[in-house]
């Protein structure tokens, strides 16, 4: 089954309809709150994330299934933090190389990374790549001497390639396993048979994208005519900002 995390998932939820520029600024605000190490903020951000997933009517179960590999990564990170952070050990479990500080630090780090990842998945799932590109062009436009259209295109392509490379990696891994390649325990041989096909497929795809852009007559000098942000969308952003400021004072 195809991977859906970090891909756009069409829908008609309020979050899908919200202006991409507002969504982008909203994401920046939430990311700024995640710099904090306060547990109250983490709880607030987690509740907010789950509420937004609920309102966006996304297939949360399928997305969570796709994020399994990230969960493993987070768990490994957690183990490293727990074992490598110095501090007092638990008196009843002194034989375990785990410190209280390490446990707290590991939990908070993984929680924060999980939240950042969750918001990124949500943002990409409810924002069309074209809307994101246009939003970036709109934001970069006031900065002089900057090829905003090119940067917008490159950012949207990077995000697209990021998820496609992960797809390629999964396909190559499965093909490798189907040919019993996973029985080979030599990591260098394994890397050779995985890395090269992924890179080759990615370059071939890059060529297809280039030809698609050429055939559609991509030009940098065409002025972008983006409509003004609709007032209700702007008000929603201001309310969202107000809520974050309110939580800031409460915490």
């Amino acid at each position: 089954m195809a991977r859906i995390a970090l891909h756009y998932l069409p829908g008609d939820s309020p979050l899908h309809r919200w202006d991409a520029r507002c969504k982008f600024f909203g994401l920046l605000m939430v990311t700024a709150t995640l710099v904090q190490t306060s547990i109250s903020w983490f709880i607030f951000d987690s509740i907010l994330l789950f509420s937004l997933f609920f309102f966006s009517r996304l297939p949360l179960k399928n997305i969570l299934r796709d994020l399994n590999s990230w969960m493993i990564l987070l768990f490994v990170l957690f183990l490293f933090q727990v074992v490598l952070t110095p501090g007092d050990r638990f008196p009843s479990l002194s034989w375990l190389p785990i410190s209280k500080d390490g446990l707290l630090l590991g939990s908070l780090t993984c929680w924060r990374l999980g939240l950042i990842l969750g918001y990124a998945v949500l943002f990409t799932a409810v924002t069309r790549p074209r809307d994101l590109r246009d939003a970036l062009i709109w934001i970069l436009k006031p900065i002089p001497m900057l090829p905003e259209r090119r940067i917008g295109l490159m950012v949207s392509l990077t995000l697209r390639f990021f998820s496609r490379i992960l797809d390629h990696a999964e396909e190559v891994r499965l093909a490798h396993r189907a040919r019993l390649g996973d029985r080979n325990k030599n990591p260098f041989r394994k890397a050779k048979f995985l890395a090269l096909p992924i890179l080759r497929r990615s370059i071939l795809q890059a060529e297809e994208v280039t030809l698609a852009l050429v055939s559609r007559g991509f030009r940098e000098d065409i002025p972008l005519r983006l409509s003004k942000i609709p007032l209700p969308h702007l008000i929603s952003l201001v309310i969202f900002f107000g809520i974050l400021i309110g939580v800031w004072f409460l915490v």
């Binding site: 982008f24 994401l27 920046l28 990311t31 700024a32 995640l34 710099v35 990230w70 990564l73 990170l77 490293f80 933090q81 490598l84 990374l113 950042i116 990842l117 990124a120 970036l136 090119r150 940067i151 295109l153 490159m154 950012v155 392509l157 990077t158 995000l159 697209r160 390639f161 990021f162 496609r164 490379i165 992960l166 990696a169 890397a191 890395a195 090269l196 890179l199 080759r200 990615s202 370059i203 071939l204 795809q205 890059a206 060529e207 994208v209 280039t210 852009l213 050429v214 991509f218 030009r219 940098e220």
Partner: protein, 180 residues
Amino acid sequence: MPVEKLRWIVLSSLMAGLMAVGAYIHVPIGPVPIVLTNLFVLLAGLLLGSRWGTASAGLYLFVGAIGVPVFYGGKGGLAHLLGPTGGYLFGFVLCAWITGFISERFRYSMIGGVIGVIIGSLAVYGLGVPWLKMITKMSWNKAWMIGMFPFLIGDALKAAVAIILARAVRPMLNRQHMNE
């Protein structure tokens, strides 16, 4: 827009995407983790040259700065760019430029690639270690011990893999250029 220029734009975006994927394959040891991002930064310099390799690394930083989780372990945001590992991230841009520049001067030969990846890899530390020292207020000795020496063997391996991958993939890129 000429096809050639568009191809470089798309390839730079692809390399930035690969750098982001490389950041997810990491081993967290101390304040500076081991990541595969620099392997792809070197590869960007070797394959795309100084101009587009630098653009690719700069694009990776920009995507991370706007909040997309593309830095090591799924981190992102401007705050992370200015954190203890920020110097290494800015060092990637310098690394891509140096690797590409040397590689171009040696007409993409093997020896040019080897010199390019060695100096390029060291350039990451040239920015990363002083930045780490400045942010964490540790001594120079400690900064070098924590921020450079544990990674040298891994970097040598990554540099070797980058050269092997570049040699394997370059004929494909050359073929695409010839088809024009």
